[in-house]
Subunit: 406 residues, 4 copies
């Protein structure tokens, strides 16, 4: 056990694990537990969580709707960077943790708690993300990570503890323990159970946010997304708030079988794990943003972003949202987005997100220069000769020397 | 006109443009033209090209089947690097040019020609790719790029010249001039015509290598690809030569509506252009290779590759295949592939390439460590506490100083 | 000859080359030449240039003191990035060109000129730097680069032209033609003559801004430089304007034999060349800035800067000051400098710049944590165990698999 | 205490700390301790260490001369990469640790030990370097890090323990405790004591390997270093083995006041610390290698190395010598060194290492192309025009659009 604690703010979901933790904290630390539920669009009523917490004797309960802040200040900045972890993962869990941690620290300061706690295990990335954020924002905070402390080291012990303390246990439709899941407005993730064998295909019944491509409509859906300075602002001409816009994209993507990813990924704590994700709206947004940039962003600006994108993604994945290096990269990214404004048209069809058009008043596509037809002198083809000759010069000199005829 | 020339080796396709060039070289330079046709799997008989060249008075004609060399020594090394230009383009044209140039230089040396020529225009990337390769391999070579020299500056003038010289002109099905296309075993590209408006969707009739997702079968196709040291070697257990393997993947991809990309891209010569690509087999291969790596490649090795991938792709796109920096990056990439060996199972369905399994004797996925269940001590969760604390330390110290409580 | 021109603004130094160019422009283009002399601290009176230009019939002459703008808006931002080209060159010429070009374009717009001209040769980097800046700032500008147009292709022809037009020719002390030199408040560069043999040591008499280390004082000079947000603001406690501060550092460095660099460098146009540079003040500033950062900058911020520094330097060297990618990198760099505030103490001695102390209220050096003595719990050494174990985990798993004992 | 142990191999220096550790391991673990002394050129007789170990009851003692392996397989590969940590530190300690660890693991396997131990503290980088290497080479090894386990948490307790166990305690000349030092053929490092205040200048008496610049000879020393494929092979024409060559450079550098660095650096474990280093020979070697590359290495190869150099340096600093990512970078670096062959002439003078000449049969410096004089057509200045125009094109188009005149 760590140092004694008077009051701790727990990131509480109302689910089994954090209910057990809540009880365990009360018992083990003999401290007052403040419950904090963040509404990030996980698609559940949070009022039942309030009741559960009250039943467990909690007196201070915070239930905060953070959906707009989440999308505006976390999801959209990340999409400006075209961040994908290991090429495909949209970072749906990773990007939510810093916001929960930030609000949790605010509450701790407000209600005079000297500690915070979370329900992430000692094997995963989330503990890192929560705690790096806690420490960056309030360096003297005390952190309690029950999974790394307690002796409830198997599912059996956990369930026994729940039973003994009157904490209800959910089962899935078949009565099995559920997958390890995390859901918010950006995504839903699955880990564990059959997924622990990377050779096995996930079962169709597992998915929640999307139909399979096979069950998606036989007719494509066309959609137009408008961007301003790198952020989406409207769908089919209708302006929407960030959270509403992402929700709309989720509905569109989910209905068309879009956004599933099945990945063996590398955790920051050093092991590989297998995750399956549904990111219907985010997948659409990612394709659309790249298409908007393809028309409006300078070549070297785009390439610089592409080279730094994997690093930005790793920082988010590893929990360094509040680090100086993430902020530096964000400054670089944001400096590129001034003219990323216009409209992208997409065709959504059975898992595919197909770009079918992009237009912008800031378009750098110059049809007169680009045409295969006569351009009336807009581009002097003879310039290419000097361009090539000088770019080749270093290789020519080297070849002359290496071939022994200097 | 450049310096006088006795003999020039022309990269000849048998098509309209290079036929005009062949004639123009004979007339303009009063030189002997050697015709070289490379078979890179463009899917056409090349014997008719021989006849056309003979009709134009050519005495030395080289028709070389380079398909195996193309896939083994150019395509596969590039896929080891997971190279995609601007996030999506599979570099199908870019990767073919260095091989054509290399063989062309060999022929020039063999047959005593002091010059080489190609049919690429002065606005595009291909002129750069051809010529950088020429100069790198034979620094004293003379290069003739007719598009940058002649006065046939409009399609009308070209067609008039063809008519005047008895060169037949192909039309597409509707009698229109065709798209500007390039095809080989890796891909088919389209530019020009309606595509010059990036807001317009391509017409379905344009496509050649693939059916549309809509017209693809309603039943998915499962396929297993085996890898050895980063290269694919077998499909569904059947070992195939590189070119045969890629051809098989093309058939699978094309039948399932896979591999179309519609892109506004940034050319090396400084302008944006719009291209549409079909890369059915390459798209499957790219997904499969990443999946194989996800299981067998170390995390930091994978991330280093991800950070350098865009640069590798730009080098290939810009024509620097034979540059020292591409060779250095290839060394780095190849050093990572020793254990990228195993099998990936994919589901192909209406445009989707879905990873459904991966296995390997070199798998770094350790189910005992990764499990959410009891791991019997394989991983000590308490270790995570120190890991996080030390990773947070620099941010904590900074926060203490910045918040004024050092 | 390019298109006809009515009025051209020439970057004019008063020296031989630009005097010949001035005359040649008048003769060759039959146009009015506006002379623009930028005072960047080259250490010469510019009024004689005014007289020379008037003698050559120029009616509009601009002589602008740009020293403060040069140091504040060009030199200092570059030093924030710790930019050194190829490890050692302080970019003294490169960083001046964009400012000259910017002012030249302003003057052209102001006085109604449709063209600009400069005295850089067709082999060097300066032509690129001038012209990329011209085009970025006024894309329709006409550029006249006489060195690439005229037939004065040897020094003899140039001197004959000068004689024929009454343009005075300077000789060095020994009556030789001088080195090719460029001087401003940041540096003085030398190229040509004996330096064209990279095995030969430069002659001591060549140097201007600095004594040799051998002739520098036998006693060291101590100096303290104060920084605010990454920029130097005071020397030995005395606040100085940017230009005055750099001039003071030049005096200190020059007197102590500091800042000579002898380099074979890679030009952007594809060849290697040998340059010798004197950058007395800049060398001191570079060392001081790094030392200030060593105390106040986060580790990952510093490392990110180090990785991007060579690219930033190449952009400046190659003339891309006004490019979006340089601006993006500047945003990243500037975002790191908020707390780079404090004092660095240096010892200057016979060519050496030795850091002997650094202090800051923003210091991240925490003596309590860092001490080898008892730290009373500020740092828990046991944390290191978990830190190492998890960082090693991926390599351990790999070793187990590779060694065949999974 | 960790798990029980029968036999442990200790990296033993014969000094106070590892003598205490030796005793403590025997007492605390009741195990047999095997002593391993690596001779990496620390400049001390190691036979006394044998005697000390015997006096402490050790029966198996390994004293290995690893100097040639150290320089050939560790130091030289690192210098091929021009690796400097945080711009200035030559990584003298970092590069030695992997070799010690490698040999220690070999001995453990040979003599049937199940554990290894070292004398690095829980605050520093060396524990990480040792242990990452141990785990990478023998993933099941048990590691005992006494500093993280025992209760000897202050210098007083340590000295008391030494006294109680008859272990002699060294004092410096003044009877003070010495600096924390690490010495090998590449360098000598100092930490602790007065250095813990970064504002204080080190005392002159502290230094061992070098005289101060002030006390160095008034006459410069010229030296020529020959390279083959990136590695130094001869000094002033005399071929020397790697270790002998580095020793010779140390003598030259030390006599001329070369190679001192005073740095506030960022440790991998999260804190800043202040270190002072003497690297006389390595400093000369680093300058010489860069100069050799400046003449023989392609521009883009050199720039790619410069961009990746900081990352390579961090990997070595952080202890990842045996990681796949270091090996990948080494492959990239080594692929660039094929032609880095020739001679560099240096002038050593009172702390300065001045390049005064470089020559090579593989020189890419082409005086005909580079000359300011007439080059008789080797380079066509008109080529530069097209080169600039196409490089400017993307910025021109952007300026036209942004300025509203497309």
């Amino acid at each position: 056990m760590s140092k004694p604690v008077q009051k701790v703010v727990l990131a509480y979901s109302g689910g089994l694990d954090t209910s057990i933790i809540l009880k365990w904290l009360q018992e083990h630390y003999q401290c007052e537990v403040v419950a904090f539920c963040a509404d990030l669009g996980q698609g559940e009523e949070l009022e039942p969580a309030r009741q559960k917490a009250m039943n467990l004797g909690v007196r201070e309960i915070y239930i905060d709707d953070l959906k707009e802040e989440f999308v505006r200040d976390f999801v959209f900045p990340m999409y400006r960077a075209n961040a994908l972890y290991e090429g495909v993962y949209h970072l749906g869990t990773s990007i939510a943790r810093p916001l929960i941690a930030k609000r949790q620290i605010e509450i701790a300061t407000q209600c005079g708690a000297e500690a915070v706690s979370h329900g992430a295990t000692g094997k995963g990335n989330d503990q890192v993300r929560f705690e790096l954020a806690y420490y960056a924002l309030r360096p003297g905070i005390q952190v309690i990570a029950p999974w790394r402390e307690w002796d409830l080291t198997s599912r059996e012990k956990l369930l026994a503890y729940a039973d003994a303390n009157g904490i209800p246990v959910a089962r899935d439709k078949r009565g099995d323990v559920p997958y390890s899941m995390d859901r918010n407005l950006l995504h839903l993730s699955f880990e564990g159970k059959v997924l622990e064998d990377p050779w096995k295909e996930p079962e169709e019944e597992m998915f929640v946010l999307s139909v399979s491509p096979e069950r998606a409509p036989d007719k494509p859906t066309y959609v137009e997304i408008s961007f301003e300075k790198g952020d989406p602002v409207a769908i089919d001409g209708e302006r929407l708030s960030p959270a509403n816009l992402l929700a709309r994209l989720n509905a569109l993507g989910g209905a068309n079988g879009i956004g599933r990813v099945d990945l063996v990924e590398n955790r920051y704590v050093g092991m590989k794990s297998r995750g399956v994700y549904e990111t219907p709206g985010g997948t659409i947004l990612g394709v659309a943003h790249r298409a908007m940039e393809s028309l409006t962003l300078d070549r070297e600006a785009a390439h610089l972003k592409d080279e730094l994108g994997p690093r930005y993604a790793s920082l988010v994945y590893n929990g360094y949202w509040f680090s100086p290096e993430r902020l530096m990269l964000q400054s670089l990214v944001d400096a590129s987005q001034t003219y990323v404004t216009g409209v992208v048209r997409l065709k959504l069809y059975k898992g595919n997100v197909i770009v079918t058009g992009r237009k912008s008043e800031q378009s750098l596509f110059d049809p007169v220069v680009a045409t295969f037809e006569d351009d009336h002198g807009a581009y002097d083809q003879a310039d290419a000769s000097g361009f090539i000759k000088l770019n080749a010069l270093r290789m020519r000199i080297a070849a002359l020397v290496r071939q022994g005829k200097p």
